[in-house]
Amino acid sequence: MVKAFLGFLITAGTGLMLHAQEQSDYYRTVTLETPAGVNFEASGLAMLPDGRLAVSLRKGDVWLIQNPAAEPPSVKSLGYHLFASGMHEILGLDVHDGDIYVTQRSEVTRLRDTDKDGTADEYHTASKGWGVSGAYHEYAYGPVFDREGNMHNTLNCSMGKTWAGAGDEAKHPLWRGWSVITRKGGTTATGFSAGFRSPCGIGLNAEGDIFGTDQQGNWVPTSPVMHIREGAFFGHAESLVDATRPDSPVKPPARMLDGLTVAEAVTRIRGYCPPAVWLPYVKFGQSTTGLRCDLTGGKFGPFERQMFIGEFVLSGVNRVFLEKVGGEYQGACFPFVSGLQSAVLTLNFLPDGSMIVGQSNRGWNSYGSRSFGLQRLVPTGKVPLEIHKLEAIPGGFRFTFTRPVKTADWSKTKAQSYTYTLTAKYGSPEVNPQPLQLSGWQISDDGLSLTVKCGNLRAGHVHEFELPEVSAQNGLPLWHRLCAYTLNRLP
């Protein structure tokens, strides 16, 4: 089993870099010049109503960029302006009702320029109430605003040395490993959903439901994308200490068990919610970060209303398709781009339909030649042949392509299913792997969709496919052949 796992790692690893040429065929990479002398560790990106781009930096600044899509992308043509500074490790930024909100280690701050001199003068505490023990790992992310105008943030579990100077919070930092909600009109964050380790991304899908990402480690077998809703528990046991509080919406399981598979945990751990999508380790990178739904109306390519997920180690972006089965979200992930200049921490879309990514690899390592920066991915207009959607259908799966494809030797598809173990140890290999018994490949008359029957579907397992070489009817080869569907429920 371990051997099989390794085999995949190697092929995935070598496969990753082979697409650089194709990548630039479909998406041009534009590297934005950043102001000299500033470590431009971009951690949050959002558009202001006036067309300027607000960027938060880990060092505690907020900068505004006048013309974020300017080319050549020089400091001068982009137009940088320092708007606010002196804050404590900002790891997220959003614009809501015209105001900039940033998340610092210990609070969400709303920034306003009340005297209209171009620089923030009001640093209003919009949310606080979570514990900060001084341990390095207590990152805080967000915010996002839900349909009702409530604010949501995600908080890392605590890890590392606490500092006695934190007082009572050194003994018990509140809501660590939780997503928290600040109700509209309030300024106090309280627990909303639990069981996170390092939930570096929080965002909304096209329907306005909240999603988060997390990173492999203890209790997190590989990077997941989860549907955040009130009372959900996603598996990281250390957060349960706060589930016994009277104001906790999460009901703690009677007993947390170490070593169950995800498929077992669903039935044996009360309240455990499996993530909507798992991103298999190494094959899709090693640490998911920010997430953003493509609402460009097709300007960014054929992936409208799908989600894009930042990837730290590979300095890249993955793509996620979601559908609802039995009332719950689940879906598939696909590689998108990799090999950018540094770890992607956050991402957003500009009005021209290009994607902008904010980068910083402080504290860890990543592909690429720089430790921070901003880059844009600009569609060239050439539409790649990709698997647009992978849906679960009764008894099998349906692949939908972005362009009509020629028929291929579908029997050469490599496909397997596996699950993961939830454990206090670091991560999990793929466990209980089984080759998929595929048959009855059928391509639609228009060449856009392909269905296959699977004789051994297993709920609670990731179903991974590597298609054979496929080409579009115009000869264009399939850009990415790998995809993985998280089949929590059978349709």
Binding site: I10, G60, T125, K128, G363, T423, A424, Y426
Partner: protein, 719 residues
């Protein structure tokens, strides 16, 4: 004849253990039985000495790797292990072809034993080792026959006469010893205390108990405490077999663990020894008995003595002797369980059939690692590593290593160790000094002794050879050019190795993974290249990112990095490790007040620092909602926020730090507003009333202006 047994007065959870002891006693029906009272203080119920007893001669790796449902082809290997580890072959000589493989391990060195154990303890142990120390590998030799009392007494007198002064060890601190016992690696084999909670176990979870039995330490409490400390520090001196390896403890650490293990209950009195009233036998008779009973086959006491001869291994009847249901005096009694007996019978028949199958180097390494139980800590080729309930005690002393997960806690996987490490470095690790490169890990690599490990120096490289070998050019041609390229690649603007790896005395910028300082002494160049080219394939589970996959210049780059690391002395350090930048925030230079949030000493984790060009500074605690400290001179260094990963709290850089009085009333922080002059005003409510609170430099100190509900008061703060 049996006698009534008085029940010992002990804590309830001790009872189960006692009843087992009683069964063992009644097996020796005709010995007069009295049990001394074990006076236990209540915290001791959680002590490692209270481990669930093992009822057979315990060989850790036998129990770990053999189950009764295993097929004969597997169990026979376990039998070979027992033949060697229980030192069967010390008495029953193995045929020449088997001799190396089944070599008995040297028994404990009894020189000076009379200084470590008192006569009653020697008497109890010799008379029935299985009773005194359940699970011991020391066989019993006395079934209670006529004359046994005199022989046991003689042995006690003889061993008691072997005196040796133990060097004086310092006084130990039991609480610290408890910490050490649970983190340096003792619990890989021995029982964890049930009152020690591993830090990693979340509050909602029970601490899981080990599934494999623990190696007994029932004697810890019987040694005098100074001897125990000296034993813990120098186990190889007392037990040259290395089965109890040295954990490289300092005098103080050994004394601390001794203080923890030596619970100090009243020494057990061998009341039955007194009741027997055996007359003194004389030391010389004891010496003869020691030889006559065959003790000398395993033990050294003074000088090596010849023992009596026994049938050779290949001639044994496997239904008799040590393997029969009970043993008369003179036949070793091990209390073997059914699986052990089956294994031994299979192994002896295999030996009778002829020479052993030739072992490859890979198998020989596995054999020695199984004998020494390297597998208690290490995983190699899918075998071994601590079971989860023991692994949870392995910890890291460096918080910033936590994100490395198991790699920060657990001893490394040894899959390709033989082609990874140089011979010189292997020697350092196995029996030398300074081989450790993971200072963040609490567990230590123990010393098993040169005799037990030297063979690995030749076997490991052969076992782990790679075909075809990786080719790397380390000739160092054009080395100045290449070393410089290597330096650039290691630096932050190159491949950013220093993002995770430190070098020399410099920490990495990120997690504290192995420093690169000794790379060329430690690693074989071929392995270095193999690892860099495909980290996951070479070292499964590593967190090293695949920096070279798809890189056209990979060969040259790897060689350049090697060259740089080889020429490290005299070369500049890579970019990123030396910070030439100045991160001090200097309000005097900009002429405007500076606001800076961080973890600030004296103001907590939600602090807001404010520095003024006039050289006075303050920090506001936004949880207590008050100005917490003021100070003079320099303001703050932003290094923690701007550069580091672990974000340490920062200290006021200036002088005259003064703590301000604590605040009263119900306060809620709301933020701050920055005036046109850059001076921040803190905004909060006090008992529901809106408050504006500003400090302005005044007369070398501050003027504090507080407006509550529109009403303003001013006060001077000077210090």
């Amino acid at each position: 004849m049996t006698q009534e047994v008085p029940m010992p007065k002990t804590k309830p959870n001790r009872h189960s253990m006692c009843s087992l002891e009683l069964r063992a006693w009644s097996f020796l029906g005709h010995w007069p039985l009295f049990i001394g009272h074990l006076l236990l203080a209540s915290p001791l119920t959680a002590h490692p000495l209270q481990a669930e007893p093992v009822n057979h001669a315990y060989v850790f790796t036998f129990d770990q790797f053999n189950l009764s449902e295993d097929p004969d082809e597997h169990v026979v290997e376990g039998g070979h292990l027992l033949l060697a580890e229980l030192s069967c072959t010390a008495c029953h000589a193995a045929p020449e072809a088997w001799r190396e493989r089944l070599a008995p391990k040297p028994g404990p060195n009894l020189a000076g034993v009379g200084s470590r154990l008192d006569q009653d303890q020697l008497w109890l142990f010799i008379r029935s080792p299985q009773f005194r120390k359940k699970g011991t590998q020391m066989p019993g030799l006395f079934s209670g026959e006529e004359g046994d009392a005199a022989r046991v007494e003689a042995l006690v007198e003889y061993l008691s006469s072997l005196k040796q002064e133990t060097p004086k060890m310092p006084a130990g601190d039991g609480a610290h010893g408890k910490e050490l016992y649970h983190k340096v690696g003792c619990v890989a084999c021995h029982e964890p205390g049930s009152d020690f909670r591993p830090a990693k176990v979340p509050a909602a979870m029970d601490v899981e108990k080990p599934g494999n039995a623990s190696v007994p330490i029932a004697f810890a409490d019987v040694y005098d405490i100074n001897s125990l400390a000296h034993f813990l520090q120098n186990p190889l001196h007392y037990r040259p077999s290395g089965r109890m390896p040295g954990l490289r403890l300092s005098d103080q650490e050994a004394a601390d663990i001794a203080a923890y293990l030596h619970v100090g209950r009243q020494p057990e009195k061998a009341v039955e020894r007194a009741a027997l009233k055996t007359p003194p036998q004389g030391v010389e008779k004891g010496r003869q008995t020691f030889q006559a009973m065959g003790c000398t086959h395993c033990h050294v006491s003074e000088t090596r003595m010849e023992g009596r001869s026994h049938p050779v291994l290949a001639s044994l009847n496997t239904d008799k002797g040590c393997l029969s249901a009970s043993q008369p005096t003179g036949v070793p009694r091990y209390d073997l369980n059914d699986l052990q007996k089956r294994a031994l019978k299979l192994a002896i028949s295999a030996v009778k059939k002829g020479g052993p199958p030739a072992l490859s180097a890979l198998q020989k390494v596995d054999w020695q690692m199984t004998r020494l139980n390297c597998y208690a800590c290490h995983d190699r080729n899918g075998k071994g590593g601590p079971e989860d309930p023991r692994a949870q005690y392995f910890t890291s002393n460096d918080g910033s290593a936590e994100s490395l997960g198991e790699l920060a806690h657990l001893p490394p996987n040894l899959d390709a160790a033989g082609r990874k490490l140089t011979r010189g470095w292997l020697e350092k690790i196995l029996f030398g000094e300074g081989g450790g490169v993971r200072p963040y890990m609490d567990a230590r690599m123990p010393d098993f002794g040169r005799d037990q490990t030297a063979m690995l120096l030749d076997l490991l490289p052969e076992a782990d050879r790679r075909e075809p070998p990786v080719k790397i050019d380390v000739s160092g041609l054009e080395k100045h050019h290449r070393a410089e390229l290597g330096r650039k690649l290691v630096g932050m603007t190159g491949l950013a190795c220093v993002g995770c790896h430190g070098l020399k005395d410099r920490k990495s910028l990120g997690p504290p993974v192995i420093r690169l300082t000794h790379t060329v002494e430690r690693l074989q160049p071929e392995y270095f290249k193999e690892l860099l080219l495909n980290p996951q394939a070479t070292q499964p589970g590593t967190m090293m990112p695949p920096m070279f996959i798809g890189r056209k210049t990979a060969d040259k780059d790897v060689e350049s990095i090697w060259t740089y690391l080889k020429e490290l002395e005299g070369q500049p350090l890579p970019d990123g490790l030396i910070s030439n930048e100045d991160f001090e925030i200097k309000p005097a230079k900009t002429g405007r007040p500076a606001v800076f949030r961080s973890f600030i000493e004296g103001a907590g984790t939600h602090a807001i620092g404010v520095g003024f060009p006039a050289g006075v500074n303050a920090a506001f605690d936004s949880v207590q909602v008050r100005w917490a400290i003021v100070w003079k001179g320099r303001f703050l260094d932003a290094m923690s926020n701007w550069q580091s990963r672990d974000m340490p709290p920062i200290k006021p850089l200036g002088t005259d730090v003064k703590e301000l009085p604590s605040a009263s009333g119900t306060r809620e922080f709301q933020g701050y507003r920055i005036g046109g002059d850059g001076v921040p005003t803190m905004l909060y409510t006090l008992d529901g009333q809106p408050v504006e609170d500003t400090l302005r430099p005044s007369g070398g100190g501050f003027e504090r202006i507080v407006t509550i509900n529109g009403k303003t008061t001013k006060e001077a703060i000077s210090w």
